[in-house]
């Protein structure tokens, strides 16, 4: 045996794992050192709050100063999946914050705190995650809401589409606020905060499958400030709801069913951007069924309609808010639309997936 060279004992220890700073690997979801490192390096700089900084497995927060025991809490949770992760006007991070902030706000609540659960796919560039965290930070700041708890898991390559985010939100509802899908009454006026179908068309175009380009931007935005000013101006508002998946038509059908009323729309009053209309024409889509992420349907008694509209006009997300219809007693549970040429038809819910037409 050749003993000329001494064996270095130091060299025989197990090699340290690579730090994997550029892309997500399974170790980032282990709960160990790599997870901690990811939290410190990516999440904390963007999504810090006093609750998160305590490093507990729970978030502990205070109720807002104006709350009392007579108010109520509103909670909502939503899982966000979108392909591509970044699209004109937004990204999955902004969507995850705004989606839940808006759902909580639709109860008439002031959204206060959010939690976020991340499911990362092995191989996701860390830079992508950082951009998403930055976008969430911006949206949280805009909404005035804090992130108070979070979780990260990693799944094997191919088991998730890059990144999924679940967010849950909590808000405080004043004791005098009564908002709900079952509260629309005959005689009420139906308002919309802006143009319809922007988000759905922007995302579809970003997938690059349309065969044509469009400048349409997603409308994804936090609506809590707009809603707060509507409720101040029109305290007897009956229904607030954001027409997300399924679009205006599907959402109004839900309200008509919950409230046991008919809703009559005027097609000529419904705002749709020319580029969205053109894209829908080409694909055979109806913009009334296309998703929105920054619009709200407001149903108010007629005497408060003008005040609600004025309040919306004063917010950057409600500049072109307008009346689109009225609530009637019958035919109950139906949405009707007076068409551009004066005909009348039923506006039904969408059956299954919206598919482009053939010719």
């Amino acid at each position: 045996m050749n003993t000329d060279k001494t064996i270095s004992i130091e060299g025989a220890v197990c090699p340290l794992p690579l730090p994997h700073k550029d892309q997500i690997v399974m170790g980032h979801g282990s709960g160990g050192k790599m997870t901690q490192e990811l939290i410190q390096r990516i999440f904390m700089p963007h999504l810090s709050s006093s609750s998160l900084q305590q490093g507990n497995d729970f978030g502990e927060v205070l109720l807002p100063a104006q709350s009392n025991l007579k108010g109520r809490l509103a909670l909502s949770t939503d899982s966000h999946i979108v392909s591509p992760l970044f699209f004109p006007g937004g990204d999955i991070g902004r969507l995850a914050v705004c989606g839940t902030v808006n759902d909580v706000a639709m109860s008439g609540a002031i959204p206060l705190y959010l939690t976020a659960g991340f499911i990362l796919e092995e191989g996701l560039p860390v830079e992508t995650l950082e951009r998403v965290a930055q976008s969430m930070e911006d949206s949280l700041h805009e909404a005035g809401v804090q992130l108070i708890a979070g979780d990260t898991k990693v799944v094997e390559k191919g088991k998730a589409d890059g990144l999924f985010i679940n967010t849950a939100g909590i808000g405080w509802v004043d004791e005098n606020t009564q908002i709900g899908g079952a509260l629309a009454r005959p005689g009420d006026v139906v308002l919309i905060s802006g143009t319809l179908g922007d988000h759905g068309i922007a995302v579809l175009a970003a997938r690059g499958e349309l065969g044509f380009e469009t400048a349409v931007q997603s409308d994804v935005a936090p609506l809590n400030h707009l809603i707060a000013s509507v409720l101040k101006a029109a305290p007897h508002t009956h229904v607030l709801r954001d027409p997300t998946r399924g679009g205006l038509a599907t959402t109004l059908n839900e309200i008509a069913t919950q409230s046991q009323v008919a809703i009559l729309l005027e097609e000529k009053s419904i705002p749709v951007l020319p580029a969205v209309r053109a894209a829908c024409e080409m694909l055979g889509f109806d913009p009334l069924y296309v998703a929105n992420e920054g619009k709200v349907i407001v149903i108010v008694p007629p005497e408060e309609a003008e005040a609600a509209l004025d309040a919306m006009h004063g917010n950057c997300y409600g500049k072109i808010a307008c009346r689109i219809g009225t609530v009637q007693a019958s035919p109950a549970r139906r949405v009707l639309i007076r068409t551009l040429i004066g005909g009348m038809r039923v506006l039904d819910v969408l059956a299954g997936e919206m598919l482009p037409r053939i010719c």
């Binding site: 499958e209 349309l210 065969g211 020319p274 209309r277 053109a278 024409e281 694909l283 055979g284 019958s330 035919p331 139906r334 009707l336 068409t339 551009l340 040429i341 004066g342 005909g343 009348m344 038809r345 039923v346 039904d348 059956a351 299954g352 598919l355 482009p356 037409r357 053939i358 010719c359």
Partner: protein, 368 residues
Amino acid sequence: MRFVDEFRDASLVKGVLDEIRRTVTRKWVLMEICGGQTHSILHYGLDELLPPEVELVHGPGCPVCVTSLELIDKALVIASQPDVILTSYGDMLRVPGSHEDLFSVRAAGGQVRVVYSPLDAIRIAKENPDKQVVFFAIGFETTAPNNAMTVLQAKALGLKNYSVLVSQVCVPPAMHAILGSPQNRVQGFLAAGHVCAVMGYWEYPPIADKYGVPIVVTGFEPLDLVQGIRMAVHQLEKGTHEVENAYGRVVTYEGNRASQAIINKVYQPCDRQWRGIGMIPMSGWGLREEFSDFDAERRFQVGHIQTQESTTCIAGQILQGLMKPPDCPAFGTLCTPETPLGATMVSSEGACAAYYRYGRIKNLMAEK
């Protein structure tokens, strides 16, 4: 939107409707051929604005609806095979075959992709050289040149992994079948504007002459439709049976010669089964022998599959204008867009689906 809004102008539409009302003296039955027209009529509530004398019946011009069950079953068999990517237009995915639809094949792991343009299928074939890419080439004369173009492209590119499952059908033979039926009620036609954009309307004068029916080439916007109806009613009241063009901004007598040349190069006329109607002789196109390498039926040996259609569904009578969707006992109860018994309830261009979505207003008013 320019060149669209003008054709949806309520006051212009009303003017033409008033003219129809002044002209019409008795009951007439008109058929709009194309499912896109049916969709548009019900979408705008146009049928309710017409005078009661004018009855519109809905024709067979919905490509998804008339694609035979047999071809759908063949598509399902092909799509279920490993290493196959089946591509088609979106609506086709929902149409039930004998036992399942393409969505279920996809859910079970089959690769089924929606394409917006048939040339996307060629792109998919280029990107996936280890897979067989099949395009389910359905449609009327409107889709024929695009679908045929993929075969020419595949040949030019030397693509060995591309084939087409052809289900091309043609309008004029269907008009013969409808008008030649002893139960026919149709007295005038609104010819399908986009079919005529490709083919022109030189094929129609012999039909107008043989059966004594006016045929008006008609577009899809509300103003196009009322204009087509006005011209057809005017002819019926006068007792003439000319072929007229109410869609002059898109359609010429000769049609699109370049497209016709592509169709003729790739396809030849053949017999076709129409779902719900049956076999219409020489009513479709199939691949010419020199392109038979691209024939998916041969490549996947599914030529032997034969299927019987359900007897409950009255789609056949609806597509021939003999009955209307609400005449069907299953309409809106057993048969809905979520649980379609027949293809006319599936496609947005299908008469049953259009009635289901838009046409229930009268019933609703009656309910109340």
